[in-house]
């Protein structure tokens, strides 16, 4: 115990230096509520320290590589619109916010032409200009007590996206939040923080996309998004992680959905060396529907952890979890599907499916359902499969003249397609489909027993 305490203190020391510096000059430093939010969160982080594999929620994911590293805040950098172009989805988008090393870049962003009743701004701007719009929601949902990474993000909360959709307003095209990190002289951290508020009977789709530009340096994106969906609101959230393999990405999506709301979370994990994708919806009003859909593709020594925590807090709600994993080389995937049904959440209908393909002997998947049911009239099902590419299917395709490599690619695409098909936004779907195709293409080109390095390089070239 004593040893851990010492290490924890050392770990916290560099964060304390960062925080002391940050706290003075942070946006909204003079706002009492915000200052308290940050300071309480930092205190909580210091108390908890980074989680270890002894904790049930982190059993399969060792974050000591993050804990041991001394990170400095990512520095300001400029990108050209040419550099940006390759990262943007084709098709119509409602707005694009670009963040370079965690900072909003107004020149690269595009927020004009939004429908009336829709606000899309950087969180920093919003804190400076209209802090009163934030106080009600910001930090009220994401759990700093339970999760040290959320606490750390909240302590360093400074920039990110603010999206507000007024009652009854429909935003058809997706809003893109593009987080790009550039090469830095040393390990650098950003704490993207997004607040999405969709009022009653509104509709919105937001896509968070994390990518690296240029060379590889250790980058840590510690992101938190709070998505508040009102009554009968339809909201979609997309997460894309495609940073280079030296990146750490810990993302938390906390959804709070009201009565008869319909919310979907879609995730695509392609990049990042160590990735934790937390999705935590709370079905807080009666008759809500929630879809939690995701795909993770691991190669090299990637570690891709998906931690789902679906809370049924009201009666007559339905939740569907579908996660597919494809793991090659020495990659390690995790699917942790926790469903909590509160005492009063009768007639809950919760379903969970996790399917995995292991492409090499060294690839690994840990899949774990966890059902905690305190109501007595509920339907909860879960299922997981782990398999290889089916030899019969492969032979069938080859017997028609399709090469083995191409046949494998088709079968992997088909497996991925199950998840892609559930995505409602055509723009997001096509963007994601394109990324998957590109990713599988380089997988196919890379020698099968290649090291992570080769894959990393191929990834760079594929961009």
């Amino acid at each position: 115990m004593r040893e851990t305490a010492v290490t924890a203190t050392e770990q916290v020391q560099s964060w304390l230096e960062n925080f002391t510096e940050f706290d003075k000059s942070a946006p909204g430093a003079k706002l009492a509520w915000l200052k308290r939010l940050r300071e309480d969160a930092f205190a909580r982080f210091c108390e908890a320290g980074f989680p270890t594999t002894r904790e049930e929620d982190w059993r399969f994911t060792n974050v000591s590589a993050i804990a041991r590293t001394v990170f400095r805040p990512a520095t300001e950098a400029k990108l050209t619109s040419e550099q940006l172009a390759t990262f943007c989805p084709e098709g119509k988008t409602a707005a694009t916010l670009v963040f370079v090393n965690g900072r909003f870049d107004a020149e690269l962003s595009q927020v004009s032409g939004l429908p009336k009743g829709v606000t899309v701004a950087s969180l920093r701007e919003q804190i400076d200009s209209h802090p009163e719009t934030l106080e009600k929601h910001l930090g009220r949902y994401a759990d700093t007590q339970r999760d040290a990474f959320v606490a750390l993000n909240t302590a360093f909360l400074a920039d990110g996206a603010y999206v507000h959709v007024a009652r009854g307003v429909v935003v058809e095209a997706p809003i893109i939040l593009l987080y790009l990190s550039t090469e830095e002289p040393g390990p650098a951290v950003t704490h993207p923080r997004n607040l999405i508020v969709a009022e009653d009977q509104s509709q919105v789709a937001v896509m968070e996309d994390y990518a690296s530009v240029g060379g590889e340096s250790i980058a840590f994106s510690n992101a938190v998004t709070e998505l508040i969906a009102g009554e009968s609101t339809v909201a979609q959230h997309y997460l894309i992680e495609r940073e280079h393999l030296k990146a750490f990405n810990i993302s938390t999506l906390r959804i709070h959905q009201g009565r008869s709301g319909n919310v979907a979370s879609h995730s695509l994990l392609l990049g990042g060396g160590l990735v934790r994708n937390n999705v935590h919806p709370v079905l807080a009003g009666e008759g809500g529907e929630c879809l939690i859909n995701g795909l993770f593709l691991g190669t090299g020594r990637q570690h891709l952890d998906n931690y789902m925590h679906v809370e049924h807090a009201s009666p007559h709600c339905g939740s569907r979890q579908f996660y597919n994993g494809i793991l090659d080389e020495q990659s390690h995937g995790v699917f942790h599907g926790r469903i909590v049904v509160h005492k009063d959440a009768q007639k809950t209908d919760a379903k969970q499916t996790n399917r995995n393909l292991l492409l090499s002997d060294d690839a690994q998947i840990d899949t774990k359902p966890q059902l905690e049911i305190y109501a007595d009239d509920v339907k909860c099902t879960h299922g997981a499969t782990i398999g290889q590419i089916e030899e019969n299917a492969l032979f069938y395709l080859q017997s028609r003249g399709i090469s083995e490599a191409e046949a494998r690619k088709l079968l992997l695409l088909a497996f991925a397609e199950e998840c892609v098909e559930r995505m409602h936004s055509a723009v997001a779907r096509e963007h994601i489909e394109g990324l998957i195709r590109q990713h599988l293409l380089f997988l196919e080109n890379a020698p099968h027993a290649s090291s992570g390095r080769v894959v990393e390089r191929a990834m760079e070239e594929a961009r």
Binding site: E390, E391, N392, A393, F395, Y396, L397, Q398, S399, R400, G401, I402, S403, E404, E406, A407, L410, L411, L413, A414, F415, A416, E417, E418
Partner: protein
């Protein structure tokens, strides 16, 4: 030169010898039927011709169109013109029928140095073949064989064959599980593809299919060996007497 020459073919599956010295010669334009009881090795022969690697050839040779077939991967054999209509076509969710078939055709065209066909060029050809097999094009918007009935799957096999236009078509129990209407449609499809340049190897347990696809030669396969060869009347004889009488050691080699 014959299109297909099988000489003294021995094949092991999981350490058991299934084919014990097959000799068979098939010329372009001919339809041969391989008949035999269950477990005689008919399907093994079909799968070996399509180059399934779980089947281990221990002895003998197969020459296809002057080339060593045993050196080929399944996709190469297909590109060279071997087509296997599967006994149990595989369902593959997530791969569209039409997309799959065009990919297969283009893979073969590319192999032969021909230009790939785009969706616009492909469509008329595809529609023509669909009509031939009396298939609903709604089926084609679905995933490959997914949710197809037994008859639809078999028709889909022949549809693929019609599009890919192989030199040698191997039909593995294509009649099994078909009602008489479906059987007629499938047989029509197959017959329309008969031509002087194409050979067919029809593997079947029952004589019924051969009423519709009339073979030039019939071979009886029992316990991994061809025990009788003859004309189409041999099939009728088998239908009457069953396979029992062929199992006496009066085996004659295949037609030279």
């Amino acid at each position: 030169m014959s299109l297909l020459e099988i000489k003294n073919l021995h094949v092991n599956v999981d350490g058991n010898e299934i084919l014990k010295g097959i000799d068979l010669t098939v010329n372009a334009g001919e339809v041969h039927s391989i008949m035999g009881p269950n477990g005689s090795g008919k399907s093994t022969l079909a799968q070996v011709l399509a180059r399934r690697d779980a089947y281990n050839v221990t002895e003998g040779s197969i020459t296809f169109d002057g080339k060593d077939l045993l050196e080929m991967k399944p996709e190469t054999a297909a590109c060279e013109g071997v087509f296997l209509a599967f006994q149990y076509p595989v369902e593959i969710p997530g791969i569209g029928n039409t997309y799959f078939l065009r990919s297969a055709l283009n893979a073969q065209r590319k192999y032969r140095g021909q230009d790939e066909m785009d969706a616009m060029d492909f469509l008329p050809l595809f529609r023509e073949k669909l009509a031939l097999l009396e298939m609903d094009d709604k089926l084609m918007n679905r995933s490959l064989n997914e949710g197809f009935s037994g008859g639809e799957k078999k028709r889909n096999e022949i549809l693929q064959m019609a599009v890919l236009e192989p030199k040698l078509a191997v039909l593995d129990e294509t009649d099994s599980g078909l009602d008489i209407d479906a059987l007629r449609i499938v047989a029509n499809g197959v017959n329309s593809l008969r031509n002087p340049k194409r050979a067919m190897l029809v593997v079947t347990h029952y004589q019924r299919l051969l009423d519709y696809i009339v073979p030039d030669f019939v071979h009886v396969l029992v316990d991994g060996r061809i025990v009788r060869s003859g004309g189409k009347e041999l099939a009728l004889e088998l239908e009457e007497k069953g396979y029992g009488w062929t199992e006496t050691p009066q085996a004659v080699g295949a037609r030279a």
